[in-house]
Amino acid sequence: MTYIRKPKFRHPQLKTNDLGFTHRDYEGALTTLCAGCGHDSISAAIIQAATEMSLPPHRVAKLSGIGCSSKIPAYFLSKSHGFNSVHGRMPSVATGANLANKELAYLGVSGDGDSASIGLGQFCHIVRRRINMLYIVANNGTYGLTKGQLSATSDIGSRTKSGEESLYNNIDLAALAIEMGASFVARSFSGDKSQLVPLIQAGLSHKGFAFIDVISPCVTFNNTDLSTHGYKNTWENYEALSSIDYVPMREEITTSYSTGEDKEITLHDGSVIHLHKTSKNYEPNDKENALHHINEYKKQGKIATGLLYINQDISDLHELLDTVDKPFNSLATQDLCPGAETLKTINDTFR
């Protein structure tokens, strides 16, 4: 619907955030995805999350690969720089961008084709490299833009709209991210904004690699009863390991929680997340426990959602590489060039 211009009109009483921005300031171009696409709900959740957090939009870099999912950075945060790169290679571009300027917030948006198939290698390695970013996969279990082929996250036995059966084991990106060393791993559903928004906020506040696998139904090609990524199946089998509240650093914590099944986690920037666990045995700081829960639920045909795993004590790539505090892209000749005198002594070592 690119031919329709988005109206500039704003309701005069729109709520503003700490920066004086309304949620309209966090919007992007009008979506060109199908009506009812789960991905549009993800855009909306990102807009709400960023508005509520008072994220300066121009200090966000949004990156994506190729596919329906990778189009969505155009539909939020129009004041941010965006990069729609090549299929499956957003992780490497995000790595380079992050190295050049450690001060921006990095938001990567990818899909199941982009991250679980063509870009699976890049996905695994960006997790290993611990880039400080939030990486969202809009997971619809199908290739939408090429009209409904099976993807690597389609569950074995599930069928495409045209009836083709998935013969192979599916790849669970959340479990894979935990295995590869991601320090924040969550799963959510584009239809559950109350869960998705605080997860996005927590993921953006988390220092290190944060990953959210968002089940996001494809209304056109993969919303059938035989699909495990459609609205029906997801709603019916959706089980939250915990519900989550995100409390920004500045706000006083007013809600009180009963101890035992609730967990309070303070993030690097001082903001706090509250987890209300629904499973007594679930421990979000324990890798093996998180993987166990994912698999247990899967055996029952259920989808474990919420914050699956978190580790706040892990360093990001800049800390690992021990880089200077100033962003690389602000260093000038005098910061970087050793000069002619030094070169003379270097020349002497080659005589």
């Binding site: 870099a61 790169s85 380079g96 800049h318 590489l321 070169l343």
Partner: protein
């Protein structure tokens, strides 16, 4: 006084500072540093020297050679034929001995008698009992093996008359910080030297004599010089995947950054090196960093270039600066990974699908590797496009004599058209791909510069001057034409070709075009051809897109030989496409066996292609 063992029927012709010494070794036997010591000693005697590693794709056990050309005339290309063969490898000794020129010498380990079929009656044998000496003098098995190499260097010092002090100085330099190793190494040198002087008439007919031809010069390999160029050029991000023969670019970048790029206050690093999972990722990281305003590079070779094609197209179309060092090796596919070639010309010039063009630089010496590497970041930033420096294994991995590296402290990095926050403030309607200046280069912004202005969406899909997605064919075509215009502007920033007229009097009808590592053989070929009365104008290509001078050079000559090191005459093809040259105008001289092209090959190809040698030439030849 012991007699020289002159088994040769051919009397050696006495020659000073002009011969080839070749070391035949077993890979992994520790010969490399000993052989290097020899080459460096020749250099320190002031004599031009060019060593060439001929090594296998192997860590231990396969044959390896180190060929050292010594030429007071300064001919640094390879020369066929060996004057002194240091035959240390039993696997190859037969063919090694066969390659010695009549009247030449074979240095071998005579702890064991040489087999009868290895005896030629036209070469001289210099037996030195290396194994016996080391068994007698050294206790540890590892030492007995390693010091054989040092003992033969000591013997060669006597045979060729190398100043012994130069060698002892080199040992001191090599083991600085590990002083315990100095005395046994010097002892080994003395043992070889002593044996040679006691048993043979030293020096031989071929020998060295101090001269002053290496003043202000250095002996450095191209990859080290390239890495230094990156440090000086302001690179902060290096992303790479290990690949022979490019690996030492990043190894050396790392080495020099550790010394030169540590923030004195915090002790933190002003650089980041990421070993990526593959070349796709390596260039992706480079591109991401370039997009976000850091100077970034990757180093690779042919197989990596193949993988990088997709991203090169993205960088071309979305106009992101980045630098690639392509240290070419013999292809196709895995090809000969440890042999040299110039065979990635076409796949780099038009890298990626769709209509594309890439900026290429062709260095021919380590000095130019340094200069081009440093300036490649300015060029990439200025043109907002990838720059590929086309080095090769020969240049990258072999030490070569060149002028000292030079840096002008007045130089400031040219970051190109990047808008600051203040500049953005005064702009009404920013368009990332809006050609405001009419030179094809548009203004860009680094992410995060201004709260409300200057943000845009970078994409590999079709976009309009304001970076918005478009499927309007006319808008797309305009953008494509504008990018093409940028490559005309590029000429202002690219190194010009080096044009030389060999003879002022004669109006030459014939020209030679060459580039990169062919350069070493050119002067020698020209001098030899001139002795036969044949004169040529020459043009050395240093960058692509081609300057007008290249087209003019082709138009001004009836015939132009394009000399290159690949099978398919790739540079000739490129000249035909870009300079409207024809097959009638351009002839090829090719060498693609993986070994550096020789002057003799160039000469013989030229002579063979001439209709007949003019009479005057013959008479001159007789006089000579």
């Amino acid at each position: 006084m012991p007699e020289i063992v002159a088994t040769s029927k051919v009397i050696p012709i006495p020659r000073t500072n002009d011969f080839v010494v070749k070391f035949a070794n077993v890979n992994g036997s520790g010969s490399a540093s000993a052989n290097n010591m020899f080459a460096k000693a020749v250099f320190r005697m002031g004599i031009p020297v060019s060593p060439h590693n001929i090594f296998p794709s192997n860590i231990q056990g396969l044959p390896t050679w180190y060929e050292v050309r010594i030429s007071e005339s300064g001919y640094l290309g390879r020369r066929d034929g060996v004057d002194l063969m240091v035959a240390m490898n039993e696997q190859t000794i037969k063919s090694d001995i066969k390659s010695v020129l009549p009247g030449g010498y074979v240095l071998y380990d005579n702890s064991k008698t040489l087999a009868a079929d290895l005896i030629r009656d036209d070469v001289n044998y210099l037996g030195v009992p290396l194994k016996d000496i080391c068994l007698r003098e050294f206790e540890r098995p590892a030492q007995r093996q390693l010091f054989k190499n040092i003992v033969y260097v000591g013997a060669i010092a006597a045979f060729l008359k190398i100043d012994f002090k130069i060698l002892t100085d080199l040992v001191g330099d090599q083991f600085r910080g590990k002083e315990k190793l100095v005395p046994p190494n010097i002892h080994a040198l003395e043992l070889g030297h002593q044996y040679a002087t006691e048993n043979y008439q030293c020096p031989l007919h071929i020998q060295l004599k101090r001269c002053r031809k290496t003043n202000k010069k250095i002996l450095i390999d191209g990859n080290t010089a390239t890495a230094l160029g990156c440090v000086y050029g302001g690179a902060t991000v290096a992303a790479w995947y290990p690949l022979t023969p490019s690996t030492s670019v990043v190894d050396n970048f790392n080495k020099y950054c550790k010394r030169l790029r540590i923030d004195p206050g915090s002790g933190k690093k002003k650089y980041a090196i990421v070993q990526a999972e593959d070349e796709l990722s390596a260039i992706g990281i480079t591109l991401g960093a370039g997009w976000n305003g850091a100077r970034a590079f990757t180093a690779t070779s042919g197989p990596g270039i193949s993988l990088m094609q997709e991203f090169l197209g993205l960088a071309y179309f979305s106009e992101v600066p980045l630098v690639i060092f392509n240290i070419q090796r013999a292809g196709p596919s895995t090809g000969m990974p440890t042999r040299t070639q110039q065979s990635d010309i076409l796949c780099c010039a038009y890298a990626s699908h769709g209509d594309t063009k890439q900026v290429l630089l062709f260095p021919s010496t380590p000095g130019e590797c340094f200069e081009f590497a440093a300036s490649s970041f300015d060029i990439a930033d200025r043109l907002q496009t990838p720059v590929i420096m086309m080095s090769d294994l020969e240049l990258g991995m072999n030490e070569q004599l060149c002028d000292s590296l030079h840096w002008d402290d007045k130089h400031r990095y040219d970051r190109g058209k990047v808008l600051t926050q203040e500049q953005l403030e005064s702009i009404e309607n920013f368009g990332r791909y809006n050609d405001v200046d009419g030179d094809g280069i548009c203004y860009r912004t680094y992410p995060g510069t201004h709260p409300s202005k200057g943000s845009y969406f970078t994409r590999g899909s079709s976009h309009d001057p304001f970076a918005a997605y478009t499927e309007d064919g006319d808008v797309y075509a305009e953008v494509m034409k504008r990018i093409a215009r940028k490559f005309e502007t590029a000429l202002k920033y690219l190194p010009k070709p080096e044009v030389r007229r060999q003879s002022k009097e004669s109006k030459n009808q014939t020209g030679l075009i060459y580039y990169g590592t062919t350069t070493g053989a050119i002067q020698e070929a020209l001098d030899n051809l001139a002795r036969k009365g044949l004169y040529f104008d020459t043009l050395r290509i240093r960058s692509f897109p081609f300057h007008k001078a290249v087209r003019n050079f082709i138009q001004k000559h009836e015939t132009v030989y394009v000399i290159e090191q690949n099978r398919d005459a790739q540079m000739k093809s490129l000249l035909k496409i870009e300079c409207s040259a024809t097959d009638k105008q351009l002839k090829s001289i090719l060498n693609f066996n993986g070994m550096l092209i020789t002057a003799r090959h160039i000469e013989s190809e030229i002579i063979a292609s001439l209709p007949s040698i003019p009479e005057s030439t013959d008479s001159k030849k007789k006089q000579a």
